[in-house]
């Protein structure tokens, strides 16, 4: 209470934090131990900083694993400095001077938020806090009933306190809140009974239904968007996106200023599209084949690893239990027998290390074998696809053909129109037509190149990642074995030493 007499507002500082932690941390023997050891701010789970006349939140960024923070009964004016406390579940900011809700975006795990007795007039900036269960906005300055609608997006909200706000004086306050927040269980310290719900539902039936309808539509739209995105992703994974329609063809003519002027020959578009679709279909099927191949490789290699791991774990567990028996013999007075046991155990330990290592080596060999197979197969598959993709050559042929025809027609037309000065126009026309042709060819080439580079990079990336993973796994296992064996040997040596003394 002495803090209250001292009227001077404070900022949270090191000293205050230390004092609070010591007061609130473990007591008794545990407290002694923790004091001796020093307290790590990262490990503190709960912190209470109430009645301290705090004006500014500061110095809290170390408390990364904090789940419960009480800052009530202070003079805080702004919510700030909480960005690092991402594990917070409970935050109490009641009885302060906060005017605007802000700075809470990072606290996505928050379930219980109290802003009781502040000066808030608008409920806002809480969109990321989807886990909210309990919300307290009592004794604030909320005057607009529409603020409640904002709370509809919190699907887990069950308890809400708005008592002591201006909106509570409105006659329809309770029914309005009940109708628009149908999942609410407690409102303003009271259980919402059936009767209230019923009257609320009848009163706002149409309004709520309309709102629900809108929300549903939005949701559906989002889902549709998601599905189409997924589809596109699939196509991208198969490296054949935008080839299932006239997109390539369209793009060929989009960036071709001359082409538009030149009349398009019939048949070209449909033929082009058919070719694209052909590539597209092949791409999808080959993609499926590749995924199946990759999957089968992974299941097999995982199986082998799991199998090996199980065997090794069994061997290690057997050894461990026999070792413990030896360790328990410490009480034996017969020095020689103990010595014998220890040396036997040491021998066993080196044997164990050998067995485990050979098992690991065996696994490495096996995995290498299948990896080689896999590498060969997958590169064959990719090669096959690349070969198939040379269908683009047909596109080019088509384009060439088209170009020739176009040129021919253009010249013929030219001849008809202008009989005399044919030569001076001829160049212009020919240039225009061939420029258009070049653009088209470039487009096709670009698309093909893109496809090829991407599939090759995918393959090399995949193979590299598999290889890296395997190396990592191997290192980990080897270090594990070495670590264990050295631990065992140290222990045995210690035992022997203590015996000799």
């Amino acid at each position: 209470m002495k803090d209250l007499t001292n009227d001077e507002p404070k900022v949270i500082d090191e000293e205050m934090l230390k004092q609070a932690i010591e007061e609130q941390g473990p007591q008794g023997q545990a407290g002694d131990i923790s004091k001796k050891e020093g307290i790590q701010y990262e490990d503190v789970l709960q912190l209470r900083l109430d009645y301290r006349n705090i004006l500014k939140i500061f110095h809290l960024w170390h408390f990364t694993s904090l789940t419960k923070l009480q800052l009530d009964n202070n003079v805080i004016e702004r919510i700030e400095g909480l960005e690092n406390l991402t594990n917070l579940v409970w935050l109490d900011l009641s009885f302060n001077n906060i005017q605007v809700i802000e700075g809470l975006e990072a606290l996505v795990k928050l379930q219980d938020l109290s802003l009781f007795n502040n000066r808030i007039s608008v409920i806002e900036n809480l969109d990321t806090l989807q886990n909210l269960h309990i919300l307290s906005f009592g004794n604030n300055a909320i005057a607009q009933l529409e603020n409640v609608l904002y709370l509809r997006k919190f699907k887990h909200l069950r308890t809400l306190n708005l008592a002591g706000n201006l909106i509570c004086e409105e006659e329809s306050y309770k029914t309005f809140v009940t109708a628009y927040l149908p999942d609410l269980v407690y409102l303003d310290y009271r259980l919402l009974d059936e009767q209230t719900r019923e009257t609320a539902n009848t009163k706002y039936k149409y309004a709520v239904e309309a709102m629900q309808q809108n929300e549903l539509q939005e949701q559906q739209a989002m889902e549709a968007q998601k599905i189409s995105n997924e589809e596109l992703q699939l196509h991208k994974d198969a490296f054949v996106e935008f080839l299932n329609g006239p997109q390539l063809f369209d793009s060929m003519f989009d960036e071709d200023p001359d082409g538009e002027k030149l009349a398009l020959l019939p048949g070209m578009e449909s033929k082009m599209e058919a070719l694209c679709v052909q590539i597209f279909d092949a791409g999808l099927t080959q993609h499926a084949q590749r995924t199946a191949e990759v999957e089968s490789f992974f299941t097999c290699s995982h199986e082998a690893v799991a199998d090996n791991r199980q065997k090794a774990a069994q061997i290690a567990a057997d050894f461990e239990s026999s070792r413990r028996q030896v360790m328990e013999m410490q009480q034996i007075t017969d020095v020689e027998l103990l010595e014998d046991n220890i040396s036997f155990c040491q021998e066993q330990a080196s044997q164990l290390s050998e067995t485990l290592m050979s098992l690991e080596l065996q696994l490495v060999d096996q995995l290498e074998d299948i990896f080689k197979d896999f590498e060969r197969n997958i590169s064959d598959m990719v090669g096959g696809f690349i070969e198939y993709v040379h269908t683009f050559a047909q596109c080019r042929d088509l384009e060439n053909q088209h170009h020739e025809q176009q040129l021919e027609i253009a010249l013929a037309t030219l001849e008809k129109v202008v009989k005399n000065d044919i030569d001076c126009y001829k160049d212009t026309v020919t240039n225009a037509v061939s420029a258009s042709h070049d653009t088209h060819l470039l487009k096709i080439d670009n698309r093909e190149d893109e496809l090829l580079t991407r599939i090759n990079s995918w393959m090399s990336g995949l193979l590299k990642s598999i290889h890296d993973e395997e190396v990592k796994r191997n290192r980990k296992r080897v270090s594990e074995i070495r670590n264990y064996v050295s631990y065992v040997k140290d222990e045995l040596e210690d035992m022997r030493m203590s015996e000799h003394h």
Partner: protein
């Protein structure tokens, strides 16, 4: 061999209810004092007066049939002088000749178990007891009706077959009675050389798991560096050794069989037997086969126990076998329409059922008599409907029990509710052929209130195993024990899904208890406690004998909500050593788990302070050296938690011990005094249900009675005045009637005068009020005037209503009077006087 108890079988066979009780009481000695004999008592006499007329005389059709049969017999004797006489028209229990086919009475009884042939066959085998043929190579002289056989529950193999065939025909099977020859064992119902069917191991259909398809990238197994040659040599040696032992075994078996072989039967091939043939076709029977009615077992038609067939019959016809049976029934065909193999007695439509269409045209030119009688059909059965009461059905065995002896085994069967302890089947197996040294005793129970289902006792090891059905409050499922004394070796299995602690099994050994659990929310699945020597513990002022805990081990399944390195897999509390050992689960890609060893600090004693926690009390291994080691605070908190857990664990173990003791004591109680559960749907046995039903009936009756009484006796008051004469004279009746009418008249009159008087009263009051008004109307206030006017209109209305009622009453009164007069005229006690 069929064994029947020495029951004092009542002479008349209709066992009445009160006699049943006597029988039940005498059953306790029955079980011990049975002798090995077949029924040798005199046949119960037929009460001729009780038999229906069809039993005692032949109808005209039956006479005709008998004549035809006689004709057939004569011709048969002429054609086949070497063959034995046929069973065509034996006498029935009333000494009247009846044709065998008419003795069959196809019947379908309303018991679901009798809807298929297995049920029928085992029922007949269980329900009847065998009377041997005397002599065994002659056909019986008498063939009783199935109703009589079922009533007496005894009969020859022919009676058995007739009953079974009747039931099978009723159930829609194509069944025939077969008269022929069989082996001695079959005829005498001697199963002492057969294995008990209950002992035969259940054939488990081994469905081998389909081998996993070799996947494309399956790793190659590591190269095998053993010599193939050595392995082959080893295999060879093993195979040789195996072959040698197998041979030895076979030899021993053969010798054994040799020794057990019965002496040759001098009457082989002559012993007459009767059994049932089921032909394929109906009711999805794929193949012809025989059923032996004495055992209820099925045999293939080529079985070597059946040595020959004379004739077969069903309810429609009779066929004589013309095939050679020198080598048994191996090569018999059962195409009854084949005239070269079977000779029929009756030709006609009935044949079409079983014969080929082409044989249908032929039968005309067979016999002279047949010509005129070609559409003669088998007369309907003379037997009355076969009926078996539910009580008899439940009793099933003659006298409620049956004993069958098998090779090295004895099977006793009892009807449910017959024995006080609910025993229904008891199988004793012996070590020797003479059945003197029992090796196991297996008992099956039904309707026991402690839900005991099965008990098996091995006499060698003295181990008892018990199986329980679900429904016990302690959820016990299985119990294996030597004695019911606690802290000895035993195993208890439980229905774990019923128990709140998920306990599935508890195995006890001296100084050890192991419990396994299923589906616990704390993932515990194993707990093992090791005890030390018993010591005295003083708790709550009582000295208790308690075994101190030395070591407790608990294991847990993986809890995926925690990281593996923080999820405890095993906890070992070494109580005697003051140590606690915690092993964590393996991480996903590790082979060595992390563990921690704690040494418990000493508690505060009288002289010493409690030992403070120091980091030296903890040792352990961490797989990954790069992870942050535990802080001292964390370790201390863990230790405190573990010490608390240790106390909890001890409490759990003591609770388990307590539970074991309570289960054992309750088992002891249940075994010595068990009740049988009676379903509420069993009104004959369920006393409560019956009382309830009776009470209901009584209530209904009383209600009816009361309703009857409610109808008032019009004459009663007048009759009382006359002094309640028993019989009314006509004068009295007249008097009664006039009295009654007069009284009613008076009543009507009284009512009219009452209404009249009310009218007068109302009018008077109104007049008074009017007078008062006329006097004071000048000085009255408006309110009073209103009051007055309201009153006037009210009174006028009342008077009007009363007047209406009076008019109505006057109109109605004569009608009512007449109605009463009419009613009195018809009154049962007066009617006779006014006719």
């Amino acid at each position: 061999m069929e064994v029947l108890p020495e029951v004092d079988c009542e002479e008349d066979v209709t066992i009445t209810d009160d006699e049943e009780d006597d029988e039940e009481s005498s059953l306790s000695n029955i079980r011990i004092t049975h002798t090995v004999t077949h029924i040798a008592k005199p046949r119960p006499q037929v009460a001729l007066s009780k038999c229906p007329s069809s039993y005692k005389e032949n109808s005209s059709q039956e006479k005709l049939m008998a004549a035809m049969a006689e004709n057939f017999r004569q011709q048969y004797a002429l054609l086949y002088p070497d063959r034995k006489a046929l069973l065509l028209c034996p006498v029935n229990e009333c000494s009247v000749q009846k044709f065998v086919s008419t003795t069959l009475r196809s019947t379908l009884l309303p018991y679901p178990e009798l809807y298929d042939w297995e049920g029928c066959a085992s029922f007949v085998a269980d329900y009847l007891s065998l009377e041997l043929l005397d002599p065994p190579f002659e056909l019986p002289k008498q063939l009783s009706s199935p109703t009589w056989v079922l009533q007496t529950q005894r009969g020859t193999c022919f009676d058995f077959s007739i009953v079974l065939c009747s039931l099978l025909l009723g159930a829609g099977y194509n069944a025939y009675c077969v008269s022929g020859y069989a082996t001695k064992e079959m005829c005498l119902l001697d199963q002492s050389r057969q294995e008990c069917p209950l002992l035969q191991p259940q054939i488990q259909d081994k469905t081998e798991e389909p081998k996993k398809p070799m996947k494309k990238y399956s790793v190659k197994p590591p190269r095998d560096l053993h010599s193939n040659f050595e392995r082959r040599q080893e295999e060879k040696q093993q195979a040789e050794a195996e072959a040698a032992t197998l041979k030895k075994q076979l030899d021993a078996e053969r010798l054994q069989k040799e020794r057990e072989r019965p002496p040759p039967d001098p009457l082989r091939g002559l012993r007459v037997h009767c059994w049932v043939l089921l032909l394929s076709g109906n009711r999805e029977i794929p193949e012809n086969f025989f059923i032996d009615p004495l055992t209820g077992k099925s045999y293939s038609t080529t079985d070597e126990n059946f040595l020959g067939i004379e004739s077969v019959w069903n309810h429609q016809n009779y066929w004589v076998n013309k095939q050679d049976c020198t080598f048994g029934c191996n090569e018999m065909t059962f195409d009854l329409g084949d005239l070269s193999k079977w000779e029929y007695v009756l030709c006609g439509q009935s044949l079409s059922i079983i014969s080929d269409p082409k044989t249908l045209e032929e039968p005309e030119d067979e016999e002279e008599e047949m010509d005129e009688l070609k559409v003669f059909e088998m007369p309907p059965s003379w037997v009355t409907t076969i009926d078996i009461s539910p009580a008899d059905m439940e009793m099933r065995y003659p006298g409620g029990m049956k004993v069958i002896e098998y090779r090295k085994a004895k099977l006793e069967k009892f009807a449910p509710y017959l024995l006080k302890d609910g025993l229904v089947t008891k199988l004793t197996t012996y070590k020797d052929l003479d059945c003197t040294k029992a090796s196991t005793i297996k008992e099956w129970f039904k309707h026991r209130s402690d839900h005991l289902d099965e008990r098996e006792l091995h006499t060698d090891s003295n181990v008892t195993t018990e199986h329980f059905r679900p429904g016990r409050s302690d959820a016990l499922k299985y119990h294996r024990y030597v004695t019911l004394v606690p802290e000895t070796e035993r195993q208890m299995d439980f229905y774990s899904h019923i128990r709140t602690d998920g306990l599935a099994r508890r195995i006890e050994k001296p100084f050890e208890m192991t419990e396994t659990f299923e589906n616990r929310t704390d993932f515990l699945f194993y707990r093992n406690a090791v005890y030390g020597k018993q010591i005295k513990v003083i708790r709550a002022g009582e000295a208790l004998e308690q075994r101190p805990l030395q070591r407790v081990e608990e294991r847990f399944h993986r809890d995926h909500s925690k990281p593996a390195s923080k999820d405890v897999a095993e906890r070992i509390f070494v109580v005697s050593d003051r140590r606690i050992q915690v092993t964590f689960h393996l991480e996903d890609d590790r082979i060595i788990p992390a563990w921690l060893n704690f040494i418990k600090p000493k508690e505060a004693a009288d002289s010493q302070k409690a030992q403070a926690f120091t980091p030296q009390m903890v040792s352990g291994f961490q797989v990954d050296p790069s992870t942050k080691p535990y802080t001292n605070l964390q370790l201390y908190e863990m230790l405190v938690e573990l010490m608390r857990e240790e106390e909890n664990v001890e409490l759990h173990i003591r609770d388990s011990e307590k539970e074991v003791r309570s289960i054992l004591s309750s088992r002891e109680k249940e075994d010595s005094n068990t009740d049988l559960l009676i379903s509420i749907y069993n009104p004959t046995r369920n006393e409560m249900a019956r009382l309830h039903m009776e009470e209901k009936e009584r209530m209904a009756k009383e209600k009816k009675q009361r309703q009857k009484e409610k109808e008032l006796d019009l004459l009663a008051p007048s009759q009382v005045r006359l002094g309640l004469p028993e019989v009314l004279t006509s004068q009295d009746a007249l008097q009664l009637k006039t009295d009654c009418l007069n009284e009613f008249k008076q009543q009507l009159f009284n009512k009219a005068s009452l209404i009249q008087s009310r009218i007068e009263k109302e009018t008077e009051e109104l007049q008074k009020k009017q007078l008062w008004y006329q006097k004071n109307y000048l000085t009255m206030s408006n309110e009073d005037e209103d009051d007055y006017l309201a009153y006037c209109s009210d009174a006028m209305f009342r008077i009007h209503v009363l007047k209406m009622r009076l008019i109505r009453h006057k109109e109605r009164a004569p009608q009512k009077y007449l109605a009463l007069e009419e009613k009195l005229k018809r009154h049962p006690r007066l009617a006779s006087h006014f006719l």
